[in-house]
Amino acid sequence: MSVRRGSRLFTLALVAACASACGGRVDHASRLSFSGSALGPEAEVLRGQLARFDEAHPDVRVELRVTPDAADQRHQLYVQWLTGRASEPDVLQLDVIWTAEFAAAGWILPLEAFGPDVEDFFTAAAEAARWEGRLVAIPWFVDVGLLYWRTDLMDAAPRSLAALREAARGSIEAGATRLGLVWQGARYEGLITVFLEHLAAFGGGILDAEGRVIVDEPPALRALTFMRDAVSGGGFVPSSALTWQEEQVRFAFQNGDAAFMRNWPYAWTLLQDAARSRVAGRVSVAPLPAADDGRPAAALGGAQLAVNAHSANPSLAWELVAFLTAPEQMLERARLAGQLPPRRSLYETRALEEALPIPIAQVREVIDVAVPRPVTPVYSELSEILQVRVHRALTGQQAPEAALRDAAREMRELLARSGL
C-alpha cells in the first residue's frame, strides 16, 4: 500500500514538474544558451554582457554554460554534444582551429543568411572563420604570438632571426641573463604555433593554398634545423623549454632570467605588475623577425562565435552573436580582459588605445603579419602528428629531415583517409 501511495506521489510530482517546466517555456521567455570559457576577468565581462542582452530583449533569457577551461576538454565536450544533435548550446565559442572541423561536420550554420558584415575584420581572422568559401563564424577576439624583448638590454627588437640569435647569445655570454630566448616547446599545440612562426620566417608553411602538405620542403627543414640548433648545446633556448607551456615560459622571463620570450598578449599585464615581475616597465613586443628568405610572422589564435546547426532558435542565436561581436562589447572585453578585438577600425580609435594595456601600435604591427594555422577539418590530427615529429627532432631523437619526411607522409595519409 505504501508502495502504491509512493508511486502515486511520484507520478504527481512528475506531472507537476513537467507542467511547471513546460509552462515556463511557453509563458515566459525564450531560452538561449551560450557556452564558452568564463574564467577570471573573462567571466565578469561575459556575465555583464549577457545581462545587458537580456535587458535589451525582455522576452529572452540567456543561460551561460560554463565549459572546461582546457581547450582539449572543451573540444571533447562540444563534439559529444554536437554528434548527439543537441540543440543546446545555441551559441558556441570556438577556438579558431576548430571552425573548419565543425563546419565540415555540419554542426554549425553558415551565416550569410543573416547578412553579417565582416568587412571590418582582419583578413587572417576572417579567413579562419570561413569554410569552403562560406562564412561559418564571427571572429570574437584575436590572439597573436609576440616576441617580448627587454628594453634595458637592447635598444631595438632584432630585425632578423640571425640578429635575434646573436642578441640572445650575447645576453647569456655577457651574464645579463641566464637564458637567451624562451618559447613553448612542450609537445602540445603551443609548440606548433612556435613552429608555424619559424616556418613563416623561413618562407615555408604546413599546407599550401590548395591544401597540399609542404612541411617537408626546404624552407621547413631550415626552420626546424634553426629551432633544433637553438635548443642544442651552445644554443640560446634552454632545453628545459621543451617541457614548457605558456606559464613556465612567462615565469622564466618575468623573473628576469631571459632576454627574449615568445608568448601571447595575456602575459603583458602580468609582466607589468611590479609586485610580481622583475621586468616591469622594461619590456616591449615585436613580431618574430624573418630569416633571409621569409617574412616576420605571428601565429594567429583566438576565438570565434558560431551558431549550433540544431539550435531551436537560430535567428535569436545570431542576434546574440551580433551583439557580442559589436564594437562596444569588444572594447569592453579589451579593457577588462585585455583581449584584442579583431575589428580593424577599432585600432584607429582612442577608445581602444585607452582600453588596451599593451601599446596599440606595437600590437597592430604584429596582427598585420599574423598567419592562421591550416584551415582544415582534420587540423587537430595534423597538429598532433607534427607535435610528435617536431618534438622528436628538438629532443635529438630524430634528424630534422627524417622527422619532417615522416610527418609529411603521415599527414598525406591522413588527408587521403579523410577524403579531403
Binding site: V79, A105, A186, S240, E384, V388, L394, T395
Partner: protein, 321 residues
C-alpha cells in the same frame, strides 16, 4: 516429466536465480557491456571528426592498421619493458619491507602506517610530487646532482628519452612497493613460526631458513602480488600522462596513453577502441598466465598444507585440508 523429489529444489533454485538476477544483470551491464560495446566499435570505421565517412563495418581493419602502426608497436614494447623493469624491483623491495614489518616488535602500527603512506596518495598527486623533484629548474634532485657536479647544468630529465623513464619508474616503485609489502606481510604471517624454530634448532642459518622456509611458503603471496602489479603496470597511464605526457616525442608513451590519444584527442573512436581492446586482451592474457602459475604453485605447495597451517592468502575454501 518433472521429478517430484526435485521440484521444491528446482523452485528454490529458480527463486535463487530470480533473486540474484538484478545483481547479475548489473554486473553484466557495468563490466561485460562496455567491453562488448568497445569490441563492436573496434570493428567499425568511426571518426567523430569525419562524420561524412559514416560508421561502416570494416571487420578487423582497425586491428590490421594497429599491427602496422609503428607508434602502437613501440608503445606496446615500451609498456612490456616498463612492466619487466618495475615489477621485479617492486617485488624485491616489497619483500624486504614486509620482512622488516614482520620482524618489527616495537612501534609496529607506526611502521606500517609510515610504509603505507605512499600507497594512500592519489597517483596524480604522486606524479606531480615526482615531477617537482625532477624539475630541471627548481627540482631538489636535479639541483643537488648539479651542485655535486654529477650532471650537466643544462641536463633535463624530462627532455631526455631514456632519463625521462627514471621519474616514472621511481614514482611507480615508490607508490606501489607498500602494496606489495602488505600482501607479502599477510603471506608471512600465515607461516607457522614453529617451522622456523625447528629449522633453527636443527642448525640452519638465517639465509638457509629464508631460502628453504620463508621464500617457498610466501611464494603464493608473491605470485599474487606479481600478478596484480604486472596487470597494473601493463595499464600504465596516469604517471606517464602527468609526468611526461608521453614525451619527449613519444619516448615514454605507454599503450593506454596512445589509446587515450587516439580516442579522446584524435576522436578516432573505431581505431581507439581497437587499441583499447588490445590493451584489454593483453592484460587478460597476462592474468590467465598468472592464474595458471598460481594453480601450479598451489599443487606444488599442497603437501606442505598437510604439515601445518601454511595456506597462503589465496587458498580458497575448496581446498581440502
Amino acid at each position: 516429466m518433472p521429478d517430484p523429489m526435485t521440484r521444491p529444489a528446482r523452485a528454490e533454485a529458480r527463486l535463487g536465480w530470480l533473486l540474484v538476477s538484478p545483481a547479475l544483470g548489473l554486473i553484466l551491464l557495468v563490466s561485460l557491456g562496455p567491453i562488448l560495446a568497445t569490441t563492436w566499435e573496434a570493428l567499425h570505421g568511426h571518426d567523430l571528426r569525419l562524420p561524412w565517412l559514416g560508421r561502416p563495418f570494416i571487420g578487423l581493419a582497425n586491428f590490421v592498421e594497429a599491427a602496422g602502426d609503428p607508434r602502437f608497436l613501440a608503445a606496446l614494447a615500451r609498456t612490456v619493458a616498463f612492466a619487466a623493469v618495475s615489477v621485479p624491483i617492486e617485488l624485491a623491495l616489497g619483500l624486504a619491507l614486509a620482512l622488516v614489518m614482520h620482524a618489527t616488535v616495537r612501534g609496529r602500527a607506526l611502521v606500517r602506517v609510515a610504509a603505507l603512506l605512499p600507497w594512500a596518495i592519489p597517483t596524480v598527486v604522486a606524479a606531480l610530487i615526482w615531477r617537482f623533484i625532477f624539475d630541471a629548474q627548481a627540482g631538489i634532485l636535479t639541483a643537488s646532482l648539479r651542485d655535486l657536479g654529477a650532471i650537466d647544468a643544462a641536463f633535463d630529465w624530462l627532455v631526455h628519452p631514456v632519463a625521462a623513464w627514471v621519474p616514472i619508474i621511481g614514482a611507480d616503485v615508490w607508490k606501489t612497493t607498500p602494496f606489495v609489502a602488505i600482501l607479502l606481510l599477510a603471506g608471512l604471517q600465515t607461516i607457522d613460526p614453529a617451522l622456523d624454530e625447528a629449522a633453527r634448532i636443527d642448525g640452519a642459518g638465517a639465509v638457509r631458513r629464508f631460502a628453504t622456509i620463508t621464500l617457498p611458503l610466501v611464494g603464493p603471496a608473491l605470485v599474487v602480488a606479481a600478478a596484480f602489479r604486472t596487470l597494473d603496470a601493463l595499464r600504465l597511464f596516469d604517471l606517464a600522462y602527468v609526468l611526461t605526457g608521453g614525451g619527449p616525442g613519444t619516448a615514454t608513451e605507454p599503450l593506454s596513453l596512445y589509446a587515450f590519444i587516439a580516442l579522446m584527442q584524435r576522436l578516432r573512436f573505431g581505431y581507439g577502441s581497437a587499441l583499447s581492446v588490445t590493451v584489454f586482451l593483453l592484460t587478460f592474457a597476462c592474468a590467465l598466465i598468472w592464474v595458471r602459475a598460481l594453480g601450479r604453485l598451489d599443487r606444488y605447495a599442497a603437501p606442505n598444507e598437510d604439515s601445518g597451517p601454511v595456506a597462503g592468502p589465496h587458498s580458497g575454501p575448496s581446498k581440502g585440508i
